[in-house]
Symmetry: D2
Subunit: 86 residues, 4 copies
């Protein structure tokens, strides 16, 4: 398993190279978490709780990407407030 | 900084001691992320984007707790699909 | 059944008396809808889809209030863009 | 302005023709509201509150569609509990 600190540094470098920090006020970052959480939830919509345990490969791929997006924006928000997630 | 793997093990032990895994199907876990993201967003509601950079100590405390909740449920969902977040 | 136009006028009068329109930019109003939708969803969390059809009286009361809140903010947003919901 | 009762009957007929009511348990319907609210919010993301008052025609079209979707699912949920929205 890679190191969390190293990954978070990469995520923040990626942002700095694009000069995005100026747009990343907490209000907008909190909005992204709501939006991404909705996109994640969409993979389980119209399923029973039982069916949600059996996703197709396509759905599983989507879920992985949404989880990664949520983790990235969680990292940005933590950085904003100097919060150590761990 | 603590180790992510160690923290995630603690989160999962905490769950196992309470025998909660049976309720933690992905559909319900994805719902928690939407609900927690909404609670996080509530701290920024009626603020301008500028004002969102200046939270009170009380609001900041709430934000920290919501970020922690989101991280915990992200860990549960990752565990479900054997996804390494990093 | 009462008349939608009459109800919406009441909702808007209620707002005007409190001089709230100045805070009701679309970004904040859209945030309220996400937050309220999360609060609604909370009533169904950890339930199976079957269980969600059998709420307690207390839960049902909460659901009614959340649906009303969502309808009110939907009315504000529609007013902003002069959209006739019907 | 058309009549709310008449519109709601149309929405419910549309559903009955497709035999969708069986899937429309409250848990799934509440999920749709969270998902749609997230899609609505996406139109305002990365904007300041001031900018959110000036949408492009394309964005405005999206907003109208999301508001309509939210209204439709609000109608389904109200029907489930025999709630008169007005």
């Amino acid at each position: 398993m890679a190191d969390l600190g190293a990954i978070q540094k990469k995520i923040l470098s990626f942002r700095n190279e694009r000069d995005w920090a100026q747009f990343h006020d907490p209000k907008n970052l909190a909005e992204t978490l709501s939006i991404e959480a909705g996109e994640l939830l969409e993979n389980f919509l119209w399923k029973t709780t039982e069916q949600s345990r059996n996703l197709t490969a396509e759905e599983l791929k989507n879920v992985r990407e949404e989880l990664a997006d949520i983790f990235i924006f969680l990292t940005y928000l933590s950085e904003e407030y100097q919060i150590d997630l761990l």
